[in-house]
Symmetry: C2
Subunit: 251 residues, 2 copies
């Protein structure tokens, strides 16, 4: 039996605007159990407040404190390091960094900037990193699913700037061990008593395994048939979050 369950959001609880069938009930069942529940996401097109609203509109029940986002982790880190970031992030989450000085930037933050990933903005990020500014990434997520389409996430753009500038990014969301540590610090659970449930075999599952957690890959969201073979280590693969919760409950 696990003491804590960590749920990824997009692709696990919903895809686009639609909840995964049975996901609401599965989360309610998990919340009613003795396990501690957290929701952890690298999604960087929505603020934490927007995500909480989205989840509740979809009928999911959760406390504000149960949600951990890579965006918040990145903000916290930039504040701690007293950096002035150039934020190549989605227009929806620019507001989250408005308290930081951004003139004369000495750091680069890359999230899922969507249409703002253009040549001019990517050149700006590159030129700053080439001149020595640290590169901060929300995650290495390769792609996500929206309206039956796979779309590029922040990861490929982080990799592009790393390659161009000969730099290595600091990743603030999954699969960073610090991020998993921060989430677990809010619970009573040890890594070995914790199950990460996600649709991203790298960020969710490989990341969890590398931090000593167990992993459960769901066949929803961005899941592809070959995903089971892409990483080393042992993990569960189940049809959806419904079966994942049943598995965690020992049913």
């Amino acid at each position: 039996m696990y003491q804590a369950l960590l749920f990824d959001l997009s692709g696990v609880l919903y895809v686009g605007d639609a909840a995964i069938p049975g996901a609401r009930e599965a989360i309610a069942k998990a919340q009613a159990s003795d396990m501690e529940i957290r929701f952890i996401t690298n999604t960087s097109r929505r603020t934490s407040q927007q995500l909480l609203k989205d989840l509740r509109q979809l009928g999911f029940e959760l406390q504000d404190e149960q949600l951990f986002t890579a965006t918040d982790a990145a903000h916290q880190w930039l504040v701690q390091q007293q950096l002035r970031p150039y934020c190549l992030v989605h227009s929806n989450i620019q507001s989250e960094f408005a308290d930081l000085p951004q003139d004369d930037p000495n750091a680069v933050l890359i999230g899922d900037a969507a249409e703002d990933f253009n040549y001019a903005n990517l050149n700006r990020a590159f030129q700053l990193c080439q001149a020595g500014a640290p590169l901060v990434g929300i995650g290495y997520n390769r792609y996500f699913k929206l309206d039956d389409e796979l779309l590029l996430d922040a990861g490929p753009f982080v990799k592009a700037i790393e390659f161009a500038a000969g730099a290595e990014a600091t990743i603030l969301g999954k699969p960073s061990p610090e991020f998993f540590k921060q989430v677990l610090a809010s619970t009573q659970a040890e890594p070995e008593d914790t199950l990460m449930i996600g649709d991203d075999v790298y960020g969710d599952i490989e990341g969890a395994l590398q931090s000593g957690l167990s992993g459960c890959l769901v066949r929803t969201g961005k899941y592809q048939e070959s995903d089971g073979d892409k990483i080393n280590g042992s993990f569960q693969v189940v049809a959806s979050v419904v079966e994942a919760v049943e598995y965690a409950l020992g049913n």
Copy 2:
């Protein structure tokens, strides 16, 4: 003494619209020597015809057959492989691929597309590769210099799509050994009798060394002080193409 000299173009003979001081005379001297001269470039913002015109307008003397471009190599390869490419390349060179079928693409070609590197186009390239289309890159060039600014070249975008789709690109320009082989096949020279002169420590110098050529890095164009330490192997570093030609002539 070398039997053949290979010159990179941008950053070696010119930067932007301006010839490197002394470069015209250096090329004239090399052309008048017993050595065979070739010009080889991954520049993919101009067609071969445009490049020849540019070079002659800048006062450089060369024969059409002395110029080898990654764009031409890519075109040749796509024809041989009978592929229908989605061409994410600069609008200037789209015409070079107009003879290939491009509806219902089953391959992706990435050159230096400049402003056409946008989210929609990159998603299209990614989705095709994710579905199994081979990825073809002009080169892995990281950046180039234009008007005192370093700008992203094709390489970082090739890397981004490789990472996103879990694919490996076929590179048709430098540092591909096939490209160096193709250039040398047009001469009487063996690799060990050939000197590559370039400003890109990876594409020009490391690529040349890996193909058994000698390398001479010039301190013009995109050259950065730390470049000498970035690769393994032994190579010359000189002030400019003027000194490179003198070195090749044994002066």
